[in-house]
Subunit: 352 residues, 4 copies
Amino acid sequence: MGNTWGRILRLTTFGESHGPATGGVLEGMPGGIRIDTDLIRRQMERRRPGQSGLTTARREADEVEFLSGIFEGRTLGTPIAFLIRNRDTRSRDYEELKNTYRPSHADWTYEKKFGHRDWRGGGRASARETAARVVGGALAMHLLEGVRIRAGVWAVETIRSDKPWDRLDWDRIDETPVRSADASLTSAFEEAVRRARAEGDTVGGIIIGLIEGLPPGLGEPVFDKFEARLGAAMLSIPAAKGFEIGSGFEGTRMRGSAHNDLFNPDGTTRTNRSGGVQGGITNGMPVWFKVAFKPVATIMRPQPTVDREGRPVVLEPKGRHDPWVLPRAVPVVEAMAALTVADFILLQKTRQ
Amino acid sequence: MGNTWGRILRLTTFGESHGPATGGVLEGMPGGIRIDTDLIRRQMERRRPGQSGLTTARREADEVEFLSGIFEGRTLGTPIAFLIRNRDTRSRDYEELKNTYRPSHADWTYEKKFGHRDWRGGGRASARETAARVVGGALAMHLLEGVRIRAGVWAVETIRSDKPWDRLDWDRIDETPVRSADASLTSAFEEAVRRARAEGDTVGGIIIGLIEGLPPGLGEPVFDKFEARLGAAMLSIPAAKGFEIGSGFEGTRMRGSAHNDLFNPDGTTRTNRSGGVQGGITNGMPVWFKVAFKPVATIMRPQPTVDREGRPVVLEPKGRHDPWVLPRAVPVVEAMAALTVADFILLQKTRQ
Amino acid sequence: MGNTWGRILRLTTFGESHGPATGGVLEGMPGGIRIDTDLIRRQMERRRPGQSGLTTARREADEVEFLSGIFEGRTLGTPIAFLIRNRDTRSRDYEELKNTYRPSHADWTYEKKFGHRDWRGGGRASARETAARVVGGALAMHLLEGVRIRAGVWAVETIRSDKPWDRLDWDRIDETPVRSADASLTSAFEEAVRRARAEGDTVGGIIIGLIEGLPPGLGEPVFDKFEARLGAAMLSIPAAKGFEIGSGFEGTRMRGSAHNDLFNPDGTTRTNRSGGVQGGITNGMPVWFKVAFKPVATIMRPQPTVDREGRPVVLEPKGRHDPWVLPRAVPVVEAMAALTVADFILLQKTRQ
Amino acid sequence: MGNTWGRILRLTTFGESHGPATGGVLEGMPGGIRIDTDLIRRQMERRRPGQSGLTTARREADEVEFLSGIFEGRTLGTPIAFLIRNRDTRSRDYEELKNTYRPSHADWTYEKKFGHRDWRGGGRASARETAARVVGGALAMHLLEGVRIRAGVWAVETIRSDKPWDRLDWDRIDETPVRSADASLTSAFEEAVRRARAEGDTVGGIIIGLIEGLPPGLGEPVFDKFEARLGAAMLSIPAAKGFEIGSGFEGTRMRGSAHNDLFNPDGTTRTNRSGGVQGGITNGMPVWFKVAFKPVATIMRPQPTVDREGRPVVLEPKGRHDPWVLPRAVPVVEAMAALTVADFILLQKTRQ
């Protein structure tokens, strides 16, 4: 439990940020599917650090080695295991963290939970782990014929888009390293990040996701509603603090008469405030959702904290760290959406 | 899958709103625990319709009959099965819904998913199902020594509280049927609901929850983070459209230097923007979270919709329906929180 | 865990033998399937006590009440909950068992495990629980088009059939209450039981099962091999102590050259020592298997045992008890086979 | 599903025999446990091919590389991933098997199930996969303080021991490569294998296992009875065709009065025909069980078979193959027992 996502299509991930490797095992892929290695490479490239001047300098090679489950370029139906070596680990940077807890990191909670902690960086709690999710997600995408999943940055710090989901620039997201879903905000987002970085600070923001082409009928009453699984998938991403589908929190301001999505004769709806689900089950309309990411906890300023004995210490900034992670989180959001959707699609085959 | 919540403490629910009964089976309770039937009755009473002039007139008796797992007032460690008969079903009210899909209800999606639908009311998608959750949650509370779970209404339509979570009136929530977490807003909430009802309309809103007394160490990396499971639990409640923990969506406006929760020497934190979790694992601080509920879909006005053949029909309002469900959703939120927390507590025993 | 069988088609059972009811919840049935209530009744009738002079006098009505998941005679795709009231409980017979442990029963182990025990009969460990399995199995049979599952008594005490599986009298099993798979042994079996009963003793034996019409491809490498799941299903039946598939224990006496099943051009095999599976996956040949049942533990003779304080006591025979359970176990074996096969069939849909 | 064993302690294995690597991920280990690498090496050594003149010539290095979950020699509580490279693969030996199905192998069934097959040897169905089980089992043994698990060869072809389980030579099993549980049969077993090999043939046999020091209370009613889980674990081992616990199939010949295990005042039993379980739950007495292994399917004689088009072909013997696998299966039986027991021990912590 905990390290596995999915019920039919099951991704188990493993790895600490400064251990030998990160990786995963994907079970439940049908046999005979031709693997598109370009797709995997592309998604990994989008998650890679060091894509722009705004991101961290650590450049991971992130080569994916497949260990099983693929033969002659096609899936065998058996578990697909893969690993990514952790090369650029530089754990000497972390030596002083051995006895110190970084604020708003998982150092303290992991130690309380497990009694023993890999203090060389974030260990298992590091966003490094999401590399395995991106590989798993790219594999899951092979099952999503006719389905299109995209995500982009919708808000950074105090700046947020005022466009409705169906007016965003979905096709232009990858035009810049910012991955803005609203092209008119790209510069403003960049500027906000630059300003924060100049002050040794960090920002958070909101990612919006869109899933088009879903068949009706995905989602399981009552606990595995589509939005419950998708929400859990998103909330499992490091730094995620909120999730909403369709009108979400804003929709609570509306009355029922205004919020209800009226039907067209063909079963589509005139509006889509529900975000593509009714009663936890997809209705064939696009699913749109938002994920809130807190500001990055590692700041480039001295911070007061405590050590194992509870003594106050000052944490000095060290190395180079990302002032934001949103653009790199975009492929992770897509990967988790792909894994969740593909799992529902396979499960729905058992209902018919 | 889908009808079971939990990994060690597992609640399976069953029942359609107009079928013979609703109920559940709770597995994983240790043996020898004395059952507090008053607690169960009290929570069921809080979920009951017809508690005030503001709520639906349908008065369900909601007597819980236990079928197994309890002997001489104490748990046997075996599954606790229970049922609640559906007495006041009046399915004649629904006859005309046989071939018509209500907007923003699950009628259409269930039919697409399963091919066969119980058209007498919401069927399995009805909030009636949450009665079983409340029983399961009340049973789960027996495992929560030292833990206190409370929830209250934080926003109704456009009115929302401006008090931080630790200034809310947690002890006064049950003073009125509104179950407002901010006592100063009780009348405003009531007024908003009255106004909507007078216009044949409905409202939604936001419920805030608080879990105090949690030990550090609950939550499982990486997919079963505490907030991922809690979020899924909440998003599985009918009409829920959003979930956030701690600073959530608002927190994305802050910078890292302002958002980080600095440690006290004893491991507690000076602030609690993280909402009691770091890296997906509880840190012993109070967990606070919000759940967004869309406005009730059943309105007391004529609505255009379509029938099975795609022909336009007008849906005439019928019977009496709740213009809001927030106060009744409060014990459901508590129940899902209790089930989730108790499950994590049992699971954590295996880690030590 | 523990009370649920299956991964897609999931039966959760509940109930103590002398509590209010026994029952179950079956999840994962597709929607729209017409329920054959006669089939359910027939299987329940075959499991019923008191079918012949050889069996226990306790006559349970065993009426199945369905609570959910079926509407207008067809499945809704939602959980099918059902219960069977325990009417003829007579717990006064058991009062003296409150502080005494019956040899080779679960009294002592349940008390050690759970700390609290329903001493009125076998409680959760009673074969009474298998009633819910028979209902679940009969429902599962609705998914088994083209598949035929049968079981019969193959050995009683020291008498065992010498016919190979494909020469047994599969069509004549229900001709007598003995349910002998080898018609020539019916009288011998009866006689063995009579003799044991006359001496206040009990017998065990072996049930043979046959599953015909299975498609190739069922079973999951590597832990959920078809025989691993089928074996677990059988070994979960009260009093089962052994399971073998195909040539089983006897097959270990053969050499590879004699044991191998050679192929026919169409992929069928000339022999079927493997019992319809290769590498854990069905090959389309009939699956045949045997299940060993220990002699009934409740004997009609005084037995020395101990009470809670470890003091020696003599257990006096009381009431009327079955000297064997094999004929009644036949529909239970069939039910567990049906649940297991239907689950594999649904799961295999996700592989294609 | 299928590739994961366990509920709390969960081993997921991956790998085809002639792919890049075999390995596994073990979840659910508590943190802080010091890893005994010697124990792992020792068990791997016992499973290794080429230990004696009687076994296959292929010598796998079988070095285990750990990728995660261990830091400074102790467990982190996070998934322990490991791999074993497949070095000596020589797939050229298998080229002719591309279009031919070997009798009583999984070639045909895998192709039917998955549509695409790794024809270079057994692929996922190969006993090569059990290497990962042995690593997982050795890790599980770290949780078994006070528990001792041993297994040995009890029967080969037509020769079987006539000693009861408590008179076998448990301490002498590893004295010879035969791993006989009955030292007096070592030569006879060897002779049987030699004779078969000389004729290009193979043998099967029976392994007996013993688990001592178990606490009472392990096992879960009703489907996850101790013997049901243990049986499934054993039946998932390649070539296993039968499982019995305690008196098993032989016990069916006895009457209840002779079979019942009478209590001693301290709750132990005078006899142990039940094999350490009552009602599916351990009673603290030693668990003893037997596993039947069919004769090895790969024989060193020409065999008639068919190709993909159903045309008859003759399969010529090639390379060197083991005429038996029982001694190497001994550590696999121990590993599966260890995984199953450790999982039950962790699960039982949630019951108390």
